[in-house]
Every structure is written in structure tokens, then in C-alpha cells.
Symmetry: D2
Subunit: 378 residues, 4 copies
């Protein structure tokens, strides 16, 4: 049994993502929420703390105070979850790391490559674990795909088709409410919108599944819906170090696409297909061409992957379980660290290293785009 506590920065009333992180942590009782700074408005923060049953003393007016006080308490939080807009991640994460507190931060981890590298360095210096919550890597099926590819089941990867279209911002008269407002606002979201929100997921999960490293890329970032300032449709050609190629497409105006992250990996001996909206299955095709639909719960899935399931096959698990899997492993590592038993091979979550790669990807795309869609080497 793990005995860990955590605090949250962000996640005030009505904030979808903060609530989702809390549900994911509580699902498997990975840690208890005991502190927080839930809003930049101290009153709202207090109220949310009360709603969540937090000791009022540990509801802080700002994250600086929170980091300081929690790091001084004997029973201080084991980690902080940062679920604020992108442009504030850097300073908050930096402060907690410097206070010796482990960090879980939403993606894209920051808006600037230098910041990402600085956090990477800071985490190392202070011996902190830093998880970037790329939710979809938490799916058991994503981990299974990684195993299949690692063990050569589809031979050498030849090409990757990866896409992540959404449709919720298709309407020029509707910027997507609270969720959309900050994403479409360069001040809060950074230099990119769609690419940061969706493109980094694509870059990350392809990397996680295949182990391929991008050698160079060519990107076209378009602003399509009238009235938008940041990109809402991105096309990226990639070439990996192995010589394999790929196409990444992301969009925010693809009507009918709810959250349609789809990865298809074509190898010399087989093909794997995975769709986030049907996250409990993969399609594996070998040289005979037969589509094999393999689902969570089937005996063919190796134990180190199967252990991430909670329910029997056919009893559907979803997004919260995927996020829960991230926290399950993250807190396993933290507990081991606390007990002096940690070693890095235990890590099965995306770290700040993935965050850095995500920013490298964004920077390269921006550079390619501004230069007339030329190849940029990473």
C-alpha cells in the first residue's frame, strides 16, 4: 500500500482537467489530496479546498507560498499536480522542483524549449521525478503496442500515419467556451494552439509506441477558421533516424471528430492500428492480411502490460483509467524513492525528457513553417 499525499495548483471549480486528474489519482487510491492552490482568486481557491475536504491551512493563496510551506512541513506533499494554463507551467514547476517537490504537469509542459531544458536540468539537480501527463500513453493498449514493436512482431517500421483531429473549434462564431478561450489566445497558449494541444500528443505517443526518433521534419501550420490567430490545422511530414517516414495531421475544425487520435504503424512484417476513441483494442495485421482485433483482458497480452487493467474484458475502461495508470506508476516510483528502492527502469510514464522532445518538435515545426515548409533537422 502506498502512503502518499499530493497538492494541486489549478483545478478550481469548473476546471475539467483538474477534476480529471483528481479522479484519476483517487481511482486506485494512488495518493491523497491534502493541499492546493486551486485558483488565482484566493476566495475561489478556498472554496474549492473546502469542497474537496482540504484542511484550510493547506489551501494557499499562491503557489509560491504553497511550495515553501509544504516543503517545510514534515508531512508535506510528496508531489504537486500542475493543471494551469500552459504559459504558467514553467515558473510553477520550477519553484516546486527547487523546493524538492516532485512534479506532475500537464502537457505541453511549457511554451518554450529553453524552459523545458531548464526544468529538465532543475529536476535532475534536485533529484525530483517529473511526469508530463500525456494521458494516452497510459492506455494499456498503447503499452501493448510498444511491446509488440519492441519484440519485432511487425518487423521494421516503414511508415507511420498519425492523426489527431478534433471538431470542437470548427465554428467561427464559437471559440470553444472556457476550454477554447485560452487555447486560442496567444498570450496564454504560446505560439501555437493546435500543434501544442494535439500535435505534441501525436509526436509523443508515436515516439513512445515505436521508439523512433525524428531526424527531420517539414511542417505546414495553417490558420483556417476565420477569426483565429493561432494554427488550427497542421500537416507535418517526418523522417526518422531509421529512415522510416511519417505523416502527422492535427486539426481543430474536423466536424465529427471528437477526440480522434489515431495511430497506424506499417512495418515490414505487419501493421498495427489504434484509435483513442476505441481505446481498449488494437488491430494487428500480420503477413496473412487477417485483421486481428485484440482487446484488453485477452490472454495474449503479456503480464507487464496486462497488470494495468482493472476490470475483466468487456467491462469498459476509458480515459480516466488511462490517466490513472500514469499516476499508478508515478506513485509506485515515488513510493519506491521514499523507501530508497527506486531505480529508473521502474519508470513507465512520460518524463520531462518527453517534454523537452515535445518542445523540440514544436520549435522545428515553427521554423519549417516560417521558412516556406522546408525540412528542418532536429
Amino acid at each position: 500500500m502506498k502512503q502518499l499525499t499530493y497538492g494541486m495548483v489549478g483545478g478550481g471549480p469548473g476546471a475539467f482537467i483538474g477534476d480529471a486528474h483528481r479522479k484519476a489519482v483517487s481511482l486506485d487510491r494512488s495518493a491523497d489530496l491534502v493541499a492546493g492552490c486551486f485558483s488565482s482568486d484566493p476566495e475561489k481557491s478556498k472554496q474549492q479546498g473546502k469542497n474537496l475536504g482540504i484542511d484550510p491551512e493547506r489551501c494557499y493563496a499562491n503557489y509560491l507560498e504553497m511550495a515553501e510551506k509544504e516543503s517545510q512541513r514534515e508531512d508535506g506533499i510528496d508531489f504537486v499536480v500542475i493543471v494551469t494554463p500552459n504559459n504558467t507551467h514553467y515558473e510553477i514547476a520550477k519553484k516546486f522542483l527547487e523546493s524538492g517537490i516532485n512534479v506532475s504537469c500537464d502537457k505541453p509542459v511549457v511554451t518554450d524549449l529553453e524552459q523545458a531544458r531548464d526544468l529538465q536540468e532543475t529536476a535532475r539537480e534536485h533529484d525530483c521525478l517529473f511526469m508530463v501527463t500525456y494521458t494516452y500513453t497510459g492506455h494499456l493498449t498503447a503499452k501493448y503496442i510498444r511491446e509488440l514493436i519492441r519484440t519485432g512482431e511487425i518487423g521494421e517500421v516503414r511508415t507511420v500515419m498519425a492523426e489527431y483531429p478534433q471538431g470542437w473549434l470548427y465554428n467561427e462564431n464559437d471559440c470553444g467556451g472556457k476550454q477554447g478561450a485560452w487555447r486560442c489566445d496567444p498570450k496564454q497558449s504560446g505560439r501555437v494552439n493546435c500543434l501544442g494541444d494535439l500535435g505534441t500528443h501525436v509526436e509523443n505517443i508515436v515516439s513512445m509506441m515505436t521508439g523512433l526518433k525524428i531526424k527531420k521534419l517539414l511542417a505546414k501550420l495553417d490558420v483556417v477558421v476565420p477569426g483565429r490567430v493561432l494554427d488550427d490545422n497542421d500537416q507535418v511530414l517526418v523522417e526518422y533516424e531509421s529512415g522510416a517516414t511519417g505523416i502527422y495531421w492535427t486539426s481543430q475544425f474536423a466536424i465529427g471528430c471528437d477526440n480522434s487520435l489515431r495511430i497506424r504503424i506499417f512495418g515490414s512484417k505487419g501493421t498495427i492500428s489504434w484509435f483513442q476513441e476505441e481505446p481498449e483494442q488494437i488491430i494487428l495485421i500480420r503477413e496473412d492480411g487477417i485483421q486481428q482485433v485484440i482487446k484488453r483482458g485477452y490472454g495474449v497480452i503479456p503480464e507487464q502490460v496486462a497488470k494495468y487493467g482493472r476490470l475483466p474484458a468487456g467491462h469498459t475502461e476509458g480515459w480516466i483509467e488511462a490517466m490513472g495508470n500514469l499516476y499508478d506508476n508515478f506513485t509506485d516510483c515515488l513510493q519506491a524513492k521514499k523507501e530508497g528502492k527506486f531505480n529508473p527502469s521502474m519508470i513507465d510514464f512520460q518524463t520531462i525528457d518527453a517534454g523537452v522532445e515535445g518542445l523540440e518538435f514544436i520549435e522545428a515545426c515553427l521554423e519549417s513553417n516560417v521558412n516556406g515548409n522546408k525540412w528542418v533537422t532536429l
Copy 2:
């Protein structure tokens, strides 16, 4: 914010269903687990209590003691969750009701119609709420179907095709491990296996979705896999009071069917189709024949149904969320009751009345089967 506590009977280490109930309750912080009698083995019960962070004083050696002590405490539990084998539900539920404690009990609620009626009466006498956890009725989509039919979207129902095949007990040399052992054992499971485990889900969810009452039925309960004693494949023809008809089929040896509850409802103006393994969508077909795939999160779903969703469309929810919805409404009702604001129209869960209907269904099937598959009037 609700301020409720609960205890659990059953749900020891390794018990799938008890853990699932706990996850479902904690998902939305519907109530806090504070007491329990988790195993008939007192040592295991204590250990599980410790794992779950329960005050050792409230880890009980047996349910009788638990019911008595909790009913005497000022801060006693608001409700008990019963997740033991079917044959023990009756006496446990009865005891808690008599102690004035509300009950949530897994289905089929008991093994005998008289017991079900007795619990119904006991709950009424002691003014307790009694939820039977028919998980699948918790799906937002199931509730949406009920609304569509209520409001006449598919006209009058003409025929219903409902099935619930599973495959996990197909192998004559493998009785399904711990889960299967008690289900296949007449001593623990009662007079039926497949019909009680799966058939009652079918009977209940069709009733919940359509509002149709069964007038008469004709059943064939077969014992097919060599070595089995109880039914593992059931065919039931039904005729409803409205004159509509239906076929219910359940099986435990249908290889490739994980948990394949599927309901198709054919009306005079349209058809609705729902599949538990893709629980976030319904298929609605109107007179033009066009299949409309409607998913959780879409604007067309009315607010009183849509409120049961937690995540945006495309961020998958599953079985635990469905179960969580049951507890969400159950605890809303309990909180209201505590505050003197309850009224029965708030109930959006399956009560002991549904449990009684389930047993009436089972009894009628047994009678039909033993008499050469003749029609039996309910």
C-alpha cells in the same frame, strides 16, 4: 457537497466486484468508506480494512455485529454495500434494513422470489432506500434511450431483440476461476446460473429502457458445456402487456463475446440499437433508414441525461462511470433524505422493486422450462 459514509460487506482482497463498487463510489466522491466486514475470515477482513484505511474499530468480524454497532453510532454509516455471493444477500440485507441502514446490493438481489418480496416489504417498513446495482442502467446512453422511447421518437415498440452472451465459461475444463466457481455452484448461486447472472440484466435493462411489462414468457434453459450443473444458455420468448414481443438470449459459452449485452428495439417509427461494449453511443434509425450514431457529449442529448457525463465527447467513459452514476443518484437521494428533502421522483436507480421483478422473471422462466417450454403468465 454530499457528506455521506458507507460500509461494505464482502469485497475482500482479490474480489473484483467489491473493488469495482469502491472505485465507482470514490470516482465522484459520492461517499467515504468507513466501515466493513470484508471477508468471512476475520483476519482477511482486518487486513483488507487496513489496506483501505478503515478505522480498525469499524472492521467487523461479522455483518450482524456491523449492522448493530453502526446503527448505534451517531456517525454510523449512511448505507451498506453488499457484494457477497448471491445466496447470502437476503439475510445480510434484511439485517441492515432492520437496523435502519440503507442498502445497495448486487444483482440478482436474492435467489428466491419470496425473499425479494420480503426485502421489499422490510425496506418499506424501515423507510430505507434499497438500490440493486444493475450497472448497465447507469450508462448515460441507456438513460438517453429511455428518454427517446418515452417521448415517442421511435413510435410504439413492436419487437425487442436482447442478448447477453459471454464466452468465459466455454471450456469444459475451466470453470472460470474464483468468479466462475460460485456462479456454477448451485449452493452459492441458487437454481440458475446464466439466467441469474445475465438474464436478469437483460430483463431489467429492457424494462428500464422501454417501460414494457412482461405479460407472459416461454423459456428454454439449457445446460450445454459438459460437466455443468446449472444453465449456461437460455432462450426466452416474451410477450409484453402492450402486445409487443421479444427474444432474450443469454449464454456463457459464446466464444469471442466478452460481455456482449446488446439491445435492439424496433418501433413503428424507428429503431434503437445499443451495445454495452461500446457504451458511449447509441444508434438511432428513423424512417429514412439512415443510421445515426449519437455519442455521449453531443448537444442533442437532453440535460437531465447529459448531466451524467464527466468528460468531453471522445474522452471515453466506461463501466466504472456507469456504476458511479448509480451511486451518484443513490447518494443524492440519501443526502436529500438526510436533509428532509427527498421525494421518490428523484430516484433514478433500480430499486428492490426491480429486484422483485427480476425474481418474478426467473421464477417464470424456471416454470416454463420445467413444463416443456410452455407459456407462463407473470
Copy 3:
């Protein structure tokens, strides 16, 4: 190269099924159409003959004349295709058989068991081949399923779920135009509508795929849509000689079901699923639970089945090809017969024997239904 000719009775202007048979025969140049009696109206018949490029001399005013004249010609037709309403099949087929002309006749072959047996006997006496055009048995995938079951790939069949719902007659104010009018009319269709049109397909294709013989059945034939006289929704429980069971369901008011013949066969070692509207694939599930989608054109399909394909995988074939396969084999047999090389093991089409079984099925269903849905032994 086959050198065969045929004539047609029925199939006048606007008749869907006659045109479909002609397309199917011409698809593979199985035979040339050289004679006909296309309508009970001599003028229409002549006109259709002209449209089809038939020698006017061989456009007959009635089928009696046609049978007589063609049987006397040296270059007389090798076979006749009968595509008239059900109630006329018997006398027409009988006449051609007595004239020594082979017959292809639409199903249900006749409306009465005695007639079917008489045709069976007459064909035998006159040494004629008699094909009943159960179109769906022509699908390569249906033949593949037969092979899989024959060779034990799914072990012993335990239960069969077979259904054939259509929706085109759902509307009480629309009897389905020309196609529907005769089917709904007892005078032209016989004692059953849905059961004859759809139920016999189900009975036949299950028999063809599995080789199972029905021992007894229990049927409920309902007249549901207001204004109908004959059955439009049929439920049949069957028990095969092997002890396996099945449910057959057919309907004509199932909105959204175009032509939804679906067969699922559950065996002791696997499951096979087939859907007529996706006729180029089967789903095979073995004990590991993995769904295998196997399509026409894949190497795993044995040569004696694969030969029925015309195009590479992914180049879709459909209903006409299925019908074409019937004629391909029928004319192979006729050609062989002509050359004295025929032997019965060459037959891979449904003969009058299947027609007789179809009528036995109908008679048993009628008997069961009229007796309050009791079991009837075949």
C-alpha cells in the same frame, strides 16, 4: 468454355429478380439467353424479348408452349429460369421437367410440401438438375464457413443465432410497391409471407453452413403491422439432431435493416460470424478470443472455395456475384452432363432437396404456431 443456352419464364419489364438472374448468368458468360415467356401479357412478353435481343420465334405466349417447343428443338434451351410469383412455380417447373429441361427456380420453390416432393420426384424421373436459387449460399464466404465447420475449426456447434430482418414493410400505409404487393397477398404468396421470403433463407443457409439437421422446432409467427394478413415477424426455436440449439428471427418491419441476414455459429472451440451486408468477410474467433476478420482474396481460404472469386481482395464483389456463383456451378454441372462427365459430387448449389427441406420447415412452423407454439418434430 461452356456452350449453354437458357430460357426464362417471368422477368418482364421492371421485374427486379428476373433482371438480376440475367445479370448473374451473363456475368461469367455461363449461358446465353435465347428464349422466354417474360410476362403473362403476350405483348409485354414480346417487347421484353425484343429488348433482350431474343429471336421473336422463341418469345412464347405461355410457358406450356415454350416447354413443348423448346424441348423439340435440336438447339433447345439447356435450362429454364423460373422467376414468377411463388404460387406459379410448381406447375411451370413440373412442365419443364416433364419436357426434360433442367430447371433453376427461385425460392421458396413452391408453397406446399407435397408439391415440393412431387418436383423432387419428377426431376429424378426425368434426370433433370433442379437448382433452387438460394442466393446467399453463393457467397464465397458462405462456402468458406462450410469448410471451416466441416474441418472442425470451431469444434462442435453448440448454438446458432440466425436472423434476417428487413425494414421495407414497416409502414402500415405502404405495402412495399410491386415487390411487396404479391408477397403480402395470400393468393400469390401462399400461407406465409415473411417466413417464406426470409425464414427459408435462414433455414437453408444455416443448414448449408453447418450441415445440421433440424430435429424439432417451436415457432411463433406474428402479424404485427396493422392491415397485414400474413406473418411479418417470426421467432423460431430449433433443436438439431446433434443436440445443438438455435434461434431464428425474421422480420419485415425492422426499420434500418435493409437485408440483414446475419448468422452466428458458436462452437466448442470457436465462433463464426457472417453478415450478408458485408458479404466479403467472415469473423472467426478461436479460443484466444481474438476476432479474426478474413476476407475474400486472402491466402488462408482453400482453393476449392477461393476459385469462386473474380477480383483481387478489396475490389468488392456483391449479390450478383453470389448469384453468379450459383449459375457458374449449375452450368458446370449441366455442361458436364451434356458431355457425359457429370457426377453428383460436382454439385455445389442448392437442389430441390433443399427446396423440400424448406417446405418441411415452413409446414412445421405453421403447425407449431397454430398449436400455441408447441414443439413440432420434423
Copy 4:
């Protein structure tokens, strides 16, 4: 009734595509095959003519003789079907056009843009109709999509995702038999393989469905499978004159993809999705996000499109019917021309103009690819 005859160049024994064209023409009796030059080997040609029942006098040793003799006969062929390898199309088509004979030619029509323009000019001069058999544009559903877009049902097109992967050439030790051999051979196939075989289909059908004209494109043509000389995986970014964008992807090593032409068109008010392997349906999504599956045979399809269907909904049509639709319209036009009633608005097939556009597309892709994947303006 049309009274047309045709001849064929190519389509000898074992040639898949020639046989397919013949089946397509005969399906609806669009024309009669009466002449041919079926093989470069005169013996094989004769034999095939005999198989096909062609008058030996009209089985020619070479296409030059055929063009001359047929153009001199009073009952000479109305059109010729050219189904030889790509590199021979030009001279054959040119000869027949100069002889005043209408042409149907497989795609890509030639291997060189100048040739295409020359044929375009020649057809005009000799007042011949010239059909390029882009099979997939024959699907009723493709025509329906064109109507939906024309009439503004999905608003303005914003981006197009189009792909056509196949898997049959994935194996470095298997070049795809007779079909693959010439496609992989630069001498017979021209400067491109995958792009010519698959990419031109994509370019054409997107153009046909959307009416969009490509302004510029950026292409990456890769040779991936060891031992190949010509491209087998192509990525193309396109920008249309309207400002909309697109990605085209084609591949020949995508294991599990049989013939997976898939088009998704995202507009400002809706999305349309179409998949060639399920050619009888489209998916239409409007602003409410609901997927509408619309199938051939449904009342919502306008008559000028619906007329291309032969069978009721649910009675599957496929590839041959699509090709048949091309010939149906082509021969309607030829018949009208013969009767002096032709006008160009009758044309609903892809003409040599589409062939020219296909070559412009290929040339631009080649230029972009050789220049390091730069944008090329068309």
C-alpha cells in the same frame, strides 16, 4: 435499348483488368464485344477471341490492322477498350482516334503529359469521345458526394484527407506476380509506380467529388521496399485554388490494406467520409456531430444519382457495378451521338481532360520530389 458494339485491345487469357471491363460492359448489356486484339502473341489473341465467341475475322494480329479494318466496316465497332500496359496506351489510343473510333482507356491514360495533351487534341479533332476508366468515380456513392458538396451541404471545403494504401507489394521477395511485374518495371510503367497506379486515382476522385483544382503541391516519393526501383510510398501536400488544403497518401506496402482508397472531406458545415472497400455507404456528419450512415437505395439520394443502382438496398453492389456505371453513361453518350442527340452535359464519366490533369499531377509531383520536396505550382 442501345445497339452498340466494341472491340478490345489487350485482355488476353489471365488478364484481370480486361476480363473486368468485359464483365462491366455485359452487366447492363451496354454493348456487345465483336472484335479484338487480345494479346501481342497472335496465337493467344486468336484463342481468346474464340473463347469469347468473336468472329475469327475480327480477331486481329495487331491493333493497327484492327483500327483500320474496323473503321472501314459498315458495322465497325463503336468504341475500343484499351487494357494494355501503361506505356502502350498512347500509340494505340492515338491510332483509334485517328480512325474515328471512340476510346475507353485504363488509367493512368499515358505516361507523359505531352502525350496526354496530344490525345486530348486528337480526340477533339476527330470528334471522338474518350473515357478514362477511373473505376471508383463510377460508384453511386461517389456521385452522391459530388452532389452533396455541389449543393453546399457541408459548406466550404477546408481540408481533404485522401489516401490509397495497398499491401500487396510489401514483400521484398515477391513483386506481386504478373500484375506487379509490369507495375514495378520502369520500362512498362513509366517514371512512377505507386503514384501512377494509386495516386492518380486519389487526385482524380478528390477532383471529381469536390470540384477543387490543385494550385500547388509538395511531394515526397519514396522507394522503400528493398529491391524496388520505382516509388512505393508517396506523400503529397496539396493546396487548392480555393485556399483549402489536403494530404494525399498512397502506399503499396501497407500490410492489411487491400484496396483502401479512403476520402475524408472536411467542410465549414460538415464532413463526408467514404471508403472504397465499403462502397455502398457514405458517412455524413453535420454540425451536430452525429454520424449519418447513408446507403445506396435510401430515399434521400437524388434521382439523378440513385438511377445508377440496380438492386434494392442491402443487396450489395461492388466494383464491377461501379465500372459498369462508367460504361452505362459512356454508351448512353455514344448512342446519343449516333442518333445525333448528344450534348456534352450528358457526360458523367472521366474524359481525357481528367487524364491530362492526372499527368499534370504526376509531373508536378516528380518535379517537387526531385527538388527536395519544394512547392510546385500547377
